[in-house]
């Protein structure tokens, strides 16, 4: 278990190449948007990081369900690892969105439905870590975390649909009715290629980082067993 799996090393390499390609596409292939200029390029990785956030929260809810059904520790490990990664990526999405908003909306932050629901999601998953820290007994910790991850996930689809159902200034770029409002724009061919390639790259990055994170959980579990043996 201590040795790194060969396929994981291969995945690291593929992820690195994909990430480099995505960066090159963003900076050298995607054209400059006419009214927003260079700051529009933040959009490609902003949406991709938010996507990883939502994907990971979904995985954690799924793993929560699996844990409740089977009570196997591995589902808790995957769920927790997934939340940790997604928490970071969702935070990046919020901060990068705020930087984009400053020149476009003339403010760093506004209590718009999308921004508010995104902040609520981040706070909900911040509380997930507090909950885990508060419980010592491992099985109880896993059980509570599983239930929390399932209910916490309800906030994620709400964030996704908020810009489609409520009055908001946040642009809806995919399937947009009015691409001209609030910093919205119509994607040209090269923009679409860059956007979907970035989404794919970040999905692969998520799988790669999740694998490493689960590996860390397993190693820590092994380390704790050895420590117990030493002290007994």
């Amino acid at each position: 278990m201590e040795e790194k799996p060969r396929f994981l090393s291969l995945l690291d390499g593929i992820t690195g190449i994909l990430f480099l390609a995505a960066v090159l596409l963003v900076f050298f292939y995607a054209p400059l948007e006419r009214s927003m200029g260079a700051v529009q390029k933040v959009f490609y990785f902003h949406v991709s990081t938010a996507w990883v956030g939502m994907l990971g929260f979904f995985v954690s809810a799924l793993m929560g369900g699996m844990y409740i059904l089977s009570r196997k520790k591995i589902w808790d490990m995957i769920g927790f690892s997934s939340v940790e990664i997604s928490f970071i990526f969702f935070f990046i999405a919020i901060v990068s969105g705020s930087i984009w908003a400053r020149p476009i909306w003339n403010t760093w932050w506004t209590w718009d439905p999308r921004l508010t629901t995104a902040a609520v999601v981040e706070l909900i998953y911040g509380a997930y870590f507090l909950l885990r820290q508060a419980i010592d007994e491992p099985q109880q910790k896993a059980r509570f975390s599983a239930v929390y991850a399932i209910f916490g996930f309800l906030s994620v689809p709400l964030t996704f649909v908020s810009i489609r159902m409520l009055r908001t200034i946040h642009p809806v770029v995919i399937g947009a009715g009015d691409p001209t409002g609030g910093g919205g724009f119509s994607m040209t061919g090269p923009m679409q290629v860059t956007f979907f390639f970035s989404l794919f790259t970040f999905s692969v990055l998520f799988v790669d980082v999740l694998w490493h994170r689960i590996r860390l959980e397993k190693l820590e579990s092994m380390m704790n067993k050895l420590r117990l043996e030493l002290t007994s």
């Binding site: 200029g37 260079a38 990664i85 970071i88 930087i99 030493l230």
Partner: protein, 52 residues
């Protein structure tokens, strides 16, 4: 209503600066933790072997 060219580049650099630094920071922390745990495992194994 085009923005000033320099402004848009400034915010783009800030945006990608945040994105790259957070991702790299998290990956660095993850790999340092893996390395440290692996080291501790080998030390504990040696200690157990010495004891037996």
């Amino acid at each position: 209503m085009g923005l000033e060219i320099m402004d848009t580049y400034r915010y783009m650099i800030a945006g990608y600066g945040v994105i790259f630094s957070f991702i790299l920071g998290y990956l660095l922390r993850l790999f340092i933790r893996i390395r440290s745990v692996k080291r501790k495992i080998s030390v504990y194994r040696e200690m157990l072997e010495e004891r037996s």
